[in-house]
Symmetry: C2
Subunit: 206 residues, 2 copies
Amino acid sequence: MSNPHFSTKERILSAAEDLFARSGFAGASLRQVTASANVNLAAVNYHFGSKENLINELFKRRLDELTAERTKSLNKALATKPVSLESILEAFVAPALHLASDRGGGQSFVRLLARAFAEQDQRLRRFVSDNYGHVLKEFAKAIHQFVPELQKEDLYWRLDFVSGALTYAMSDFGMIKKPPTLTEEQHRANAAKQFVRFAAAGLRAP
Amino acid sequence: MSNPHFSTKERILSAAEDLFARSGFAGASLRQVTASANVNLAAVNYHFGSKENLINELFKRRLDELTAERTKSLNKALATKPVSLESILEAFVAPALHLASDRGGGQSFVRLLARAFAEQDQRLRRFVSDNYGHVLKEFAKAIHQFVPELQKEDLYWRLDFVSGALTYAMSDFGMIKKPPTLTEEQHRANAAKQFVRFAAAGLRAP
DNA sequence: GTCTATAAGCCGATAGAC
DNA sequence: GTCTATCGGCTTATAGAC
């Protein structure tokens, strides 16, 4: 959390990610954040202006990367024949799981994301919808092509269930214990496989 | 929130449920709670001892009822032939949806529950597991009988996804807009139908 | 049981020296 | 860019009158 090889700004971001994931935005104070980052209290306001803006930059940093990875991943899946419902779901979940198993803060971020969604934070929803909504729509469109018999309304219900299953499972990632015989990489691949199977079957429900 | 027909204690519980659901445990202060409940600030400590204990009693009140309803509901489903995977899932979700559509605070509580799980609150998880775990295990057992080919590990993954889909969808309940042509009751029945279909198909995935 | 008043402490934010 | 010191405001919790 206080690795001196990183800049003050980066140390603050990492410490904040970890503490906010653990205690929530209201629950973790800037004093705790700066102490954990081995940085002066005033540095937050100098580098970020306010607590609120620190939170925004924190989300931006990760979501920009996650969305870019998902776009790349979707295009690759659509270009690799045969395309299937499973390959699209895989393209959606793989970058998220990769982030979730990154010990360099990504793990905290995934929990933070689940938390922020549960908090129904309207500003964050707006932010996500404005900045990353188009990618989510591309996935929805691609998925719909493989369950064309679904009415729009049914599709939305099911996509909602799929998001919920993923968000929840990822924030819990690690609770379903990794057997010591599996590497981190294998465990992640297994999680993806389990999710894709479940979600594909749920989407295809009669 | 300040209905004078209810006791001070009940008014505090209702106001707290609503405010904690909206702003989180750390985000909502006892001052806001007591103001919303039209009650003196000191009343919280008089009736509950501390903020922490207020939160505990709040969960206990709802979860006792929800768990009792689920037990009743499961026994009824198991006694009504033919028993199916769908009827068991229905028995699990119906009491939760009933709570979620109760404007007398249940709606707030459901969102609070989603939030608390996302918060990974260890005390709460322990509390749930200690006090209501046996009912959840009964459901898991009943479900397993209808997908006997699943390995324990696969079953656990899928139950996790099912919980996630439900928790998340319920906290969002109302986001998938109720068409004005449907009554509250019809919308709830529709949500249950959508969920049961999705979850059953997901659990039966090859 | 309900009230006022207050204790004791943490909060975010900033002014200003270096 | 980093530091100390501090402001004004909010927090939970409690003591004690009614």
